[in-house]
Every structure is written in C-alpha cells, then in structure tokens.
Symmetry: C2
Subunit: 153 residues, 2 copies
DNA sequence: GTAGGAGCTTGAGTCGGCTCTAGGTCAACC
DNA sequence: GGTTGACCTAGAGCCGACTCAAGCTCCTAC
C-alpha cells in the first residue's frame, strides 16, 4: 500500500484515460473535475488517482451520450458533497432511460442491417460460385434496383 | 390497388419520414436519393412512395450512426443497379460491425449506470423514510464524496 | 549552452449534420 | 386583389465536442 495519491502529469492521465491532453484541459475548463486540478510550482497540472477514477466514470457517461452540460451538473453535485443524492439519482435515472431507449433503437437498426446483409449474401450466393440453395427470405429489403424501382422485392 | 406512385409534396414526405423539409432538401443535395427527385411544372418537388421507402431505410441507417458519406456511397451503388452487390454487402457488413460494437459499449455503459442508480437508491433508502435494510452492494461507485475523496466507497 | 520535449494559455478552427434566413414564386381562398 | 401558406434557391449560421496554433516556460540530457 503505497502512493495514496499518485501525482500524474497530463500526458500520463491522457494515456490512462484514453482522452487527449487537449480534451483534459477542455474538460477542466468545462468544470468536469470534482476538485480543482492541482498545480506544481511550475504551473503544470498534477493529477491524482482520484482524478483518473473520476475521468473513467466521465468517459463512460460520455460514451453513452451524456451531454457535457449534464456531466458538468453531475460533477457539481458530487463536488457539493452529501445531501443532494436525490438530484444525482434523478440525473442518472434520466440518463439511464435515454441509454435504454438508444439501446432499443440501435437493436432495431441492427436487425434491419442484419436482414439486409442476409439478403445480399443470398443474392451473391445464388449468382455466385454455385447455384446455392438460398435460404428462404421474406420479400423485402433487396433495395430499389435502380431501373424499375417498385416497392423493392 | 391504386396509386402505383403516390406524388407527395415535401411537407407530406417530411411528415411521414420524420425528417424536416430542410433535411429533405439537404439530403437531396447530398445525393441521398436513388433517383433524381421529380419536379412539378411549378418547380416543386414531387416524391413517390419509393422515395419514402428509401428514406425509411436512410433514417434507420443514420439512426445507427452511418455517416452521410457512407450513406451517399450506398445510395450510389443502389442507383447504379445490379452488379455491385459485393460492395453493397461490404459496406453493410462494415456498418453492421460498428453497430454491434456500439451496442456492446452501450450495454457496458448501461451496466455501470444501472449500478450507480442502485447505489444511490440504497443511500436514499437508508437515510430516507425508514432505516431500510439496504441490499448488499459491492464497494465501488458511490462517487467521490467531495470532502475526503479516497477511491470512492 | 542549447536542442528537444512536455507543458502552459488564449483563442481560433474544424467537423458533422443539420437549421435557418432572405427574398421570391405560386395557388387557393375570402 | 389581397392575404395566407406551402414551396423554391443560395448561402449563412449554429451546435456540440473537440482540436489545433502561436508563442511562451520549464526541465533534462547531451
């Protein structure tokens, strides 16, 4: 058990969070740090492991589409400390809902794309190497064939 | 069996696709239509049911994050007609992969968020109404409590 | 003692994808 | 014949989230 608080440079933090140094400075300016980023006597930023942990959470929230203003608000609540758990929960729940929606929509999209991929595989199967069997496919999705469109086939 | 090809105004198409009239004109300019949009003698755009069907596909591809250039390329391939199915398939497969990745990442994010929501529910459970039991929770994710951070608890 | 590299600040630029504005045409209704 | 209201074009503007540039300061190593 050593290094209670690590003291990392912006480059090191960039490396371990996957964010660019630009983005780290940008996030700081945007108020996306729970406590002010410390500075060395030379003016350079000094990050702790806590900062890295927090950024890990931020990366996930961002990756799931939380907008910066919401992330900033959440950060503020955490910075204020205990007593505002309701608001944090509300914020997270709202985001949770959005992510679930997004997941649902994406799943639907994936279905369509999977289907279309199958259609094209069949087409290439049949006219391609040998006259393969060609799994039965419902009659949709081959995409308008340019010449005589007709609600696809 | 009537209206082989409907003849819809831009407003009607906007309504049935969920896209704005601005976006429809923008897409047209971007080459996101399989065949040139027809014009009435007055210069107004006249869309067919095929256009609407195609836009339906586009909406789904866009919703799943396909960038406009890729969508344009796909449109071009469909416009060119039969013979380029390999490239269409490649394009769709690539997108399919990206959507699956995105889905995976989003699912992970959802797990974290679900977990955090649970943590806050427990906190509010305990200090709130009555001193509820509080389901056992692993020791992560309560978020740095501002004062004495310490790798959260 | 100087070259290289990491870091600093402020402010501008980029990118994707729309979204809106200005100024105009046209058809329909009162 | 005047007013809506839907549509037209070209081009500018916007938004979110970075990303980069310019010009500077340090520190380290040769």
């Amino acid at each position: 058990m050593a290094e209670v608080t690590a003291a990392l440079s912006i480059g090191q933090v960039a490396e371990r969070t996957g964010l660019s140094v630009h983005t780290l400075r940008f996030y700081e300016q945007q108020g996306i740090f729970v406590s002010a980023v410390r500075r060395a006597s030379t003016g350079r930023r000094v990050y702790s492991q806590d900062d890295v942990d927090w950024l890990g959470v931020c990366v996930i929230l961002r990756a799931s589409g939380m907008p910066l203003p919401a992330l900033r608000r959440y950060t503020e609540l955490v910075r204020e400390g205990a007593g505002n758990e309701e608001e944090r929960l509300a914020l997270l729940r709202e985001h949770h809902g959005r992510v679930r929606d997004q997941l649902g929509r994406l799943t639907q999209c994936l279905d369509l794309i999977t289907f279309k991929v199958g259609v094209y595989e069949d087409i290439l199967d049949q006219e391609g190497p040998a006259a393969g069997s060609g799994r039965p496919r419902p009659s949709v999705g081959g995409d308008v064939p340019a010449s005589r469109p007709g609600t696809s086939a």
